[in-house]
């Protein structure tokens, strides 16, 4: 009976210390397949969560040139085309527009300032009486040019990209501006 020990032990004794080649291959194959499955799963999921949707620049009409008297600041509210169809009123956006007359080249000069404070994004209001923008949150104040006047903001108001087309002022639909992601990108320093 001693000679008839279970066959499994006999098999083990055949390959002392080494994994049988078939098993080694299967391990390797499992590792490879596992990595493939993980990769196939991870990439699209990362893309879904973190990738940006790219869209061509969209232009929004602010009004006819005649709507902007020289040296006056107008607050224009519009529906931001960067919206989702189910955005509701949250896609409403305000900007402060100031017509600065014609430049040396005879072209119209506008100043379009985002309403979001350069400090932490609260909505600044225009006070024509004192010619200042004031922020309700921490008291940031800006001059009519958008330059910082006082308070905690680290810079002036964000400038929007604008153009004049067919006698109308248009601006590039503004995203939510932050310190390292301004609206004029490379135009500003």
């Amino acid at each position: 009976m001693d000679t008839q020990t279970p066959s499994t032990t006999t098999v083990k004794h055949e390959c002392p210390g080494a994994t049988p080649p078939r098993r080694a291959f299967f391990r390797w194959l499992t590792g490879l397949l596992g990595a493939t499955a993980t990769g196939l799963l991870t990439l699209p999921i990362l893309g879904y969560f973190f990738a940006r949707r790219t869209r061509p620049a969209m232009w929004v009409e602010m009004g006819a040139l005649a709507d902007f008297p020289l040296g006056e600041t107008r607050t224009i509210n519009f529906d931001n085309p960067l919206r989702q169809p189910w955005d509701g009123m949250t896609s409403l956006t305000g900007v402060h527009v100031r017509y600065q007359g014609q430049g040396d080249d005879g072209k119209e000069q506008f100043l379009v300032l985002a309403a979001n404070c350069a400090h932490l994004g609260c909505p600044v209001s225009w006070f024509p009486q004192s010619g200042l923008f004031m922020c309700p949150c921490h008291g940031g104040v800006y001059y009519e040019t958008g330059e910082r006047a006082s308070g905690p903001p680290p810079r002036g108001l964000f400038h929007c990209v604008w153009r004049v087309k067919d006698g109308k002022l248009e601006i590039e639909a503004p995203h939510y501006p932050t310190l390292h992601d301004t609206l004029t990108g490379s135009l500003e320093s």
Partner: protein, 500 residues
């Protein structure tokens, strides 16, 4: 029928081994002294858990009616408040039970800290507890966003702007947080996912771990002065003590149940009396006069940020929270042995007093928010009539200019108006005419708190305003500087062109 159900129950239990596993857990011994009056210190953790159960229950209820879509969320909140049966109550309960949970967590944590219960071998229990606190704060912040009103919108804006200050990665983080280019539907959906799936998932996982650790490491005995924790001998002494212990499921648990029931009763009464919180104005970003305020657990941070000099505020926004969390994590590793009794740990007691005083003062400042200008004070708060009594026409003209130029938004008269700048009711007694002109024209040097009004006023307006301000003196007091006309030390020299 009853027999049948009993049999079914026994069969399930026999297969699943529920009672075989859970019963010993419930009956695990705890130190005998917990059965005494000291046991009342141990009720705060279980009370936060009870309130968490209320949060889950009310949260599920609310999610059945609330619409997490930017165009409908506000309406669905109004519907909950005014039309759905008991909707107002569920909303109120969800808010106040959540607030109660934060309070209970803080007390629980303070107790554990003061009693040195985080020391060997319960370091990990403390660390997981800190994670639970972080999750709860995260729930509070994301929950406020779901209350899709102006505060929610601008809270998101401020949060986004803070995140946007991260070097290099800032824009990417903001985009990920908002779910798109503007604050809107995608942002709300993200915060909904955070509030109902991601953070609760983490919270429940950490809670499971926390409870497991409590079971595994045992409940710490109430501290006794002189009984020091020594990792070499602690286990042995503790197990000796447990031999004389009492089962947890028994009288020890009774105090927990009593206190939890009390907490629930209080929360329910507050919810019923005070009612639901908000929503306030609809989330229309073009509505002027928004004055966003964070929820109460964050008011201290709001205060800290607003009171800190702009030069270090990016640091406070981005690095400070990490430091606070890191410091909390490190607590059990700084001291995991030695005395546990508060009477022998004066530094720990002092630390608690200092931290809570600081938090209290900052929260008070956050409620008052004297740094926020009152945006409609210039038109809404007229000059007090007795400050106009017997004034000359020029001074009266100055009072009008003073209002018209929005000075009141930051400067109070007789305590009414903004408080960002000093109250000017008696300014004529402390600043001379020339000093006033300098101050108004130049503002705070270097663009501090006050903007330079030099270019925002005509010379005539300046003249009138200053005449009015000089006239603002307590009865019978002479104008500043009229006795001795030498310049006061420390004032800015007067520029050559005063009012250009």
């Amino acid at each position: 029928m009853y027999q049948l159900l009993l049999k079914l129950g026994q069969w399930i239990d026999a297969r699943a081994g529920v009672s075989a596993t859970l019963w010993p857990m419930m009956r695990h011994p705890v130190p005998r002294s917990i059965d005494g009056p000291m046991g009342w210190w141990y009720v705060f953790g279980s009370a936060s858990m009870t309130l968490l159960l209320i949060q889950i229950l009310t949260g599920i209820g609310l999610s059945m009616v609330y619409v997490p879509s930017a165009d409908k969320a506000y309406e669905s909140l109004l519907y909950l408040d005014y039309e759905h049966p008991w909707g107002w109550f569920l909303r109120a309960l969800h808010y106040y039970a959540g607030s109660g949970m934060v309070v209970m967590l803080l007390i629980h944590m303070t107790q554990v800290f003061l009693h040195g219960a985080y020391k060997y071998p319960r370091e990990l229990t403390w660390v997981v507890g800190v994670l639970l606190l972080a999750c709860t704060m995260g729930m509070f912040f994301t929950g406020q966003i779901l209350r899709w009103d102006t505060d929610a919108y601008w809270g998101l804006a401020v949060g986004g702007s803070m995140a946007g200050r991260v070097p290099v990665l800032g824009p990417f983080i903001v985009h990920t947080l908002l779910g798109g280019e503007i604050i809107g539907a995608s942002s709300l959906s993200r915060f909904f996912a955070l509030h109902v799936f991601i953070i609760p998932g983490a919270l429940l996982a950490f809670l499971g771990l926390h409870l497991w650790l409590v079971l595994r490491c045992g409940i710490s005995a109430p501290p006794v002065p002189g009984e020091v924790v020594d990792p070499a001998t602690y286990e042995k002494t503790y197990h000796e003590e447990l031999k004389r212990g009492v089962p947890f499921f028994g009288d020890a648990l009774l105090k927990d149940i009593f206190f939890s029931a009390l907490a629930v009763t209080i929360v329910v009464i507050i919810a019923a009396v005070v009612g639901p919180k908000g929503p306030n104005e609809p989330p229309d970003p073009t509505l002027l006069g928004a004055n966003p305020r964070p929820e109460w657990p964050f008011l201290w941070l709001f205060g800290l940020l607003s009171l800190s000099p702009p030069a270090i505020e990016t640091f406070i926004m981005l690095v400070f929270p990490v430091l606070v969390l890191g410091a909390l994590f490190l607590v059990p590793f700084v001291s995991n042995r030695g005395e546990r009794a508060p009477s022998r740990r004066p530094v720990a007691v002092l630390l608690v007093i200092v931290i809570y005083t600081t938090l209290g003062v900052l929260t008070y400042e956050g409620v008052q928010a004297p740094w926020s200008p009152v945006m409609n004070a210039w038109s809404g708060d007229p000059v007090p009539i007795d400050l106009l009594d017997g004034r000359s026409p020029l001074e009266l003209q100055g009072a009008a200019v003073f209002q018209f130029k929005n000075c009141r938004n930051c400067h109070a008269l007789d305590g009414i108006g903004g408080r960002r700048g000093p109250d000017l009711t008696t300014i004529g007694a402390s600043l001379t005419r020339d000093q006033l002109i300098t101050q108004i024209s130049n503002g705070t040097p270097g663009g501090g708190n006050m903007p330079a009004y030099g270019k925002q006023m005509s010379p005539a307006e300046m003249d009138a305003t200053v005449a009015f301000l000089v006239s603002l003196r307590p009865n019978g007091q002479v104008p500043a500087g009229s006795v001795e006309d030498s310049p006061i030390e420390g004032t800015t020299p007067q520029p050559e062109s005063l009012t250009e």
